[in-house]
Symmetry: C2
Subunit: 351 residues, 2 copies
């Protein structure tokens, strides 16, 4: 396969680390990156080192900017010196319309990774729609988490197909990496009874970079929902973190692994359970990330296959490696003329 050019929408934790990982990944070249303040484009390949170094700095946090100004990972823009966010890079230009600017360049871009916050459910679907409206023929990949968003993408599947877009949704760690692992682990069974995804994340050094993710997770705590989480100030988030001594435990999260496994024919959505522990005061994982798939074999035995990530692999490694993998998988499908909406399990060997 020819080299794949890709853009990143959003330069929060996920966007920045994807750029970094791509410099160590064969066959992918980052050619554009934007946040709410600016855009950097170089179709011969961005200088990632310069871009990351120039934008390393303070956090500028505002989870509720206007639509086009959301291209920064929401609550996670880095800034240093006078220029804010990506504009601090010598490769970037300021803009009021970063997403529109990427769309303008998109004819020469094979894939676009949307590392955007999605506190409004339909934000990422609407961004996808804008690419379709512009007649983009390529791959869109998101790393969104919530189940209900998949349906919103499906509602737009026909528009993506008409445009020639292959949309890969939920292509991070969970959903994404672990969804694919569950689809694989299910292959011993003719009937899958339960998929249990349990994650551990130690985010001390990555905390500043990933406030958007933490905010989304807080919505899963008792007493909170997406609406209340969106309206929390940074100080209020810190208070919640303090109350839990930096360690937040989640059960029955609304993670799209459920609908993504159901649509791939692996099991019923209601039999998928996602939970985990986030420790923002340690880089050690508070628990080992484990996917357990329980099912019945053709000869009537019940068993549980498991997939475990080493505690020494950080969240960024487990999100961005797979995200770039799914970018490649999406481009392969796109070049074969397969358009529409695909989940991670749909891209597995057709199990």
């Amino acid at each position: 396969m020819d080299d794949i050019s890709f853009a990143v929408l959003g330069t929060g934790g996920i966007g920045r680390r994807t750029l970094e990982v791509s410099t160590q990944t064969d066959g992918v070249t980052p050619v554009a990156a934007c946040d709410r303040h600016g855009i950097a484009v170089d179709h011969d390949g961005l200088d990632v080192e310069e871009l990351l170094a120039a934008t390393e700095g303070n956090v500028d946090s505002d989870p509720n900017p206007a639509d086009d100004a959301r291209a920064d990972g929401g609550a996670a823009v880095k800034q240093a010196g006078e220029d804010v966010g990506v504009v601090a890079s010598a490769q970037a230009e300021p803009t009021e319309t970063p997403i529109e600017d990427v769309i303008d360049e998109s004819e020469a871009i094979d894939a676009v990774l949307m590392a955007l916050p999605n506190l409004e459910h339909d934000f990422i679907p609407r961004v996808g729609e804008r690419f379709a409206d512009a007649g983009y023929e390529g791959v869109l990949v998101d790393v969104l988490k919530r189940s209900r968003v998949i349906g919103m993408l499906d509602d737009r599947a026909e528009r993506f197909e008409e445009s020639g877009i292959t949309f890969v949704c939920g292509a991070g760690a969970t959903p994404g990496f672990l969804t694919g692992a569950a689809a694989l682990a299910a292959q011993s069974f003719v009937e899958v009874e339960e998929v249990d995804i349990w994650w551990g994340v130690g985010l001390k050094s990555g905390y500043e970079d990933n406030r958007g993710t933490v905010r989304e997770d807080i919505a899963h705590l008792d007493g909170y929902d997406l609406e209340t989480a969106r309206n929390l100030s940074d100080e209020e988030i810190e208070e919640i973190v303090d109350e839990h001594d930096g360690r937040l435990e989640f059960h029955d999260m609304e993670h799209a692994d459920d609908v993504l496994l159901e649509r791939a024919g692996i099991c019923d959505a209601e039999d998928v359970h996602v939970g985990g522990i986030l420790d923002v005061r340690s880089d050690e994982k508070p628990t080992t990330t484990t996917v357990s798939v329980t099912g019945t074999t053709f000869d009537g035995e019940t068993g549980t296959n498991t997939f475990q990530l080493d505690d020494d692999t950080c969240m960024a490694a487990n999100v961005n490696g797979p995200a770039l993998g799914y970018v490649k998988a999406g481009v392969r499908r796109n070049r074969a003329g397969e358009y529409g909406v695909f989940g991670p399990a749909d891209l597995m060997p057709g199990f």
Copy 2:
């Protein structure tokens, strides 16, 4: 995807169990099965229950029949009553040319699973070639084990492409299921240092059905090779089994996981190690089947991700579920116009 019609070449342990698993798998219909003595064809779908029941019986073992007569899993034909092997089924006809007969029917067959012994390295490649010579446009899937065979298939890739054949090689458990798991587990890492595949098989009740597999494994024991293993009588095999108290341990096996992972860009073939323990006197697995993938993350950490199969999932479940999965994946590729030779890891999400 439309329903997939498939044929099975060989009705030894793997062929028979694939037919059985397919009756519990959505979207696949077995329409032909052959062994060295006969062929059963029904394009509306075979009656698998009748076929398996009718052919349950004694073992007729001859590892060195002529080419066309090898379509029976080699050392593993079942027989009962006067009619030998598949001919005992009311759906079957005797034939001297079973493979040719399947080729004659192949225009209406989406995929052909080659559950054939491969004690001569080029046997399966040559069978594939015969399908290409006949202008077959469809999917060939094998469950072969040995690394050197992959190169022989690659040598024929152009002929497969010209014919319109999508050849999925090494699509059983290992290589196959566990190769895919290794490709998946590698996604945390930018550099993979080692892949260790360690399997446990308890084969007491499946032993009679799987003598061909046991014979191939014996070739990996110290003091044996493929040539000597092929020439062993059944009695000599029993002696070897007795000497080891029914428990054979293997290290550094020539399993194609190595070249299949290398060709998919996951790691160097020499960094892949395959071994395991086979216990033919117990149905309990003597050790837990585990895939360990060790690598370095983008941020310089070293870790090991693991995939484990439950001890209660038997070899047949772990071979045939994935084999049918790879059949489906192959048909999807074939319908998208992708021809040539693919390994299991090539069919993963393009990592």
